[in-house]
Symmetry: C2
Subunit: 474 residues, 2 copies
């Protein structure tokens, strides 16, 4: 490692490693909460062993963003509802008075803010290894595994990797990001020995990487490849049947690969701390949209009644369905994206080559070998108002030129979404909102939304640039 | 066969079967020419056996269009030049005073008009079966084979098939048509027993048909399929290694299949005698072109110094090359066609979805697995003026949005053809003409050419309708 890289890493490390005071404050808070939840459970008659888990337990948290995970382990005999409702009640009671948000992964958990620190209170079953009853049951074993394998040096490397991934936008298992979890970062550092080791390995990405720390699949590589079709496979050391990286989206792996290469080539502190995007001012954005040459089509709609993970899942699903809808009707979609304030405004963006298509297109009929279909086709198009010319035979099949039914993308979307768009693939909760109303805006028509929403303005500016911020020069 | 079909066929047959007087006149003329050529050869010291071949010899000619083939068979020892130059000289001398055109198939031959009858004087070698030295050596054997197998009834069926194929535009082996030869028609009738039998068999077209009258490939069907990849294979009864239908273009087979179906479904005399196309008047054509919705692009140029077959070969080759050129630059080509008066005006037509393309497009870069290519790609497009946005990673590869270099089809063609267009695939003799000048016309800009050229007007009217005329209603 050269001196310049070393200098940068030392500087970042200093910023992200908790000081003794910070550590003391967070650990005391964690202990206090652990006791409080424990006591509340007892008072409410719930049998639970309460433990501190996550990055605080493993000492891999970033000083700038402490996050305390409190786990309530309940006996495996208890019914599933306990995990959901009852534990949630205990959690709510324990942090009464603090700001609270109900969250949802496989089952509900509580997010709260105490002394400006984010707290997650998560229920799980207290089970033997391998007898998992819920998705969070493995966490205590993860904590144990990682603690055993990290020393102070490696904990620093994990912190660097997390900070780097946050900087380039690939950190976090939540649906919105679909990135690398903290546990995955820890396993990568254990596997490759250092932050730079991880980057160097990903920089050499060839399309598929497998990490099997406990060698569960030694000499059974074929079986492993069959079990895990994902491009990145990190076999869970506490569960041979699970790929820790299964939920990481392909594009997030790709972005990490690309950023690793860029950093190794030209190391820079900015990768860890992205400069804020300075949005175009309203006049600039209008000029930008007018002169761009492509068409930007915005679908905007109001509040969706769903927790963050569900909302983003539905936004992405809808975005994908509408892209496919536009493409099957011959629109060339250059890119798409989704944005939400997770409250009152949601926006899907589609960048198209053009807003309207030429009025005539070729329509392929059956091959000559299918005599009956040929007759139906010829009879249909000879008498059709849509026929511009033909039918004629070309390359042994009937072909006709017809007037296109869909030529205007905005009009087409409005028409297809009026009834909520379930039939074209719009996700359920979003469909409910669309039924009540939505807007389809073209290019500069988005300026109003842009002007009164600075976060959206940042998003759109970034989208228009269209390249990872760390590729920007200067 | 139902009564209606029978009535039509009898009526057509009456028109196309030579009367006793017609036959006498043509046969006398043939005999006279045979003697004249024979005598001229003797006078010029050329050893040649002169014979009447073709449809007159086989009595399968159409009364409306007699065509006399006179073959000069020279000994196989004589050098190739004899076939070309010397025989041509004999032929020219023999029909001195008549209108003459030099033609060219594999070697030159002479076309002349005597008493309003088309005469072809064709040289060939007098060889044993199988010892072919030139492409026309087989003809005397063809004549012999066919004469032996046709009776008066079957000769009528051949005439019907030829007239039908002329009517729908698939008769004739010349490059312009690329259709069925007379000999091929005869073999089809011998094989299927009647005109209607041929139509019924082709109506059931399934993509490949093999006819092997002499059973050369009995129990060797696999070998036959390997030898002849063509969709229609008619093994030459006088040469097992030759497919008589090899030069029939796929689209001509397809048109014959489609027309056979249409006739069998709704028999009509019009298939044999197409109604003349009534061209749009100049005002109509302007309205038609303006309102059509697609773009018509015309490339017009002057006289090409080549015989008909060479001219049409070059026109089709150029048409194909320019279509490919437009398509690789993202223009959607709906259809293309070629027209020529075989003298001073040639026109290639391209119907496009649109004359200009949207200014921005996606450009795919290398997959992430190719690290070095990725770096080159990113460096190139980060600094490029053409970049609209990106580069960004999508589906594990780099992508960038760039300004399109080619947006205007007419301008693009003009630029590519200025130097003759050899590098983009324009055929040699046409390229020479383009260097001297050409026009690229858009839509109504063609009206001038249209107004002063009635044959072109017919062609363009048919092209705009775009369907076989026999599909027209009423």
């Amino acid at each position: 490692m050269n001196a310049e890289v070393n200098r940068i890493l030392q500087k970042v490390l200093k910023r992200i490693t908790p000081t003794r005071e910070q550590r003391k404050r967070v650990e005391q808070l964690a202990r206090r909460l652990q006791e409080k939840v424990s006591q509340t459970a007892r008072e409410m008659g719930v049998t639970a062993e309460v433990r501190v888990e996550g990055s605080v337990a493993k000492d891999t948290w970033l000083s700038e963003e402490p996050e305390i995970d409190i786990f309530m382990q309940i006996p495996p005999e208890l019914p599933r509802e306990m995990l959901g409702n009852v534990c949630l009640k205990v959690a709510k009671k324990a942090v009464e008075g603090a700001k609270q948000v109900e969250r949802f992964a496989e089952h509900p958990y509580l997010e709260a803010f105490v002394d400006n620190v984010r707290i997650n209170i998560v229920p799980c079953y207290r089970v033997k290894k391998g007898e998992w009853k819920s998705a969070t049951d493995r966490t205590p074993y993860h904590t144990e595994y990682v603690k055993k394998r990290l020393n102070e040096k490696l904990r620093g490397e994990v912190r660097l990797l997390k900070r780097f991934m946050k900087g380039i936008g690939v950190y976090g298992a939540e649906i919105k990001v679909g990135g690398f979890s903290g546990y995955l970062c820890e396993l990568l550092v254990i596997s490759y020995g250092s932050f730079i080791g991880v980057l160097e390995n990903f920089a050499e990405w060839k399309g598929k990487t497998v990490i099997d720390l406990e060698r569960y699949y030694e000499k059974r590589e074929d079986e492993l490849r069959l079990m895990f079709p994902d491009p990145l496979v990190v076999v869970d050391p506490v569960d041979a049947g699970r790929n820790v990286a299964a939920a990481v989206r392909r594009e997030k792996i790709a972005e990490f690969v690309a950023a690793s290469r860029a950093f190794l080539e030209k190391p820079d502190e900015k990768f860890f701390y992205p400069p804020p995007i300075e949005p175009f001012n309203p006049k600039q954005i209008r000029v930008e949209l007018r002169n761009r040459g492509s068409t930007l089509l915005f679908l905007t709609f109001g509040k969706v009644d769903a927790v963050s993970d569900v909302l983003w899942g539905q936004l992405y699903r809808t975005q994908k369905a509408l892209r496919a809808l536009l493409e099957t009707h011959d629109f060339h979609v250059l890119r798409t994206s989704a944005w939400s304030d997770e409250n009152e405004l949601n926006v899907l963006v589609f960048e198209l080559e053009q807003a309207t298509l030429p009025p005539v297109k070729r329509h392929l009929g059956p091959p000559l070998a299918k005599r009956r279909e040929c007759k139906k086709f010829v009879d249909k198009y000879l008498g059709s108002e849509r026929t511009v010319c033909g039918p004629f035979v070309e390359d042994s099949r009937w072909v006709v030129e017809v007037r296109r039914e869909v030529v205007d993308a905005a009009e087409f979307l409005r028409e297809k979404l009026r009834d909520g768009g379930r039939t074209v693939g719009v996700a359920g909760k979003i469909s409910d909102v669309l039924k009540e109303g939505f807007k389809v805006l073209l290019n500069e028509e988005v300026s109003d939304v842009y002007s009164w929403n600075r976060e959206f303005a940042r998003f759109l500016t970034g989208f228009l640039r269209g390249r990872p911020w760390w590729l920007e020069r200067g």
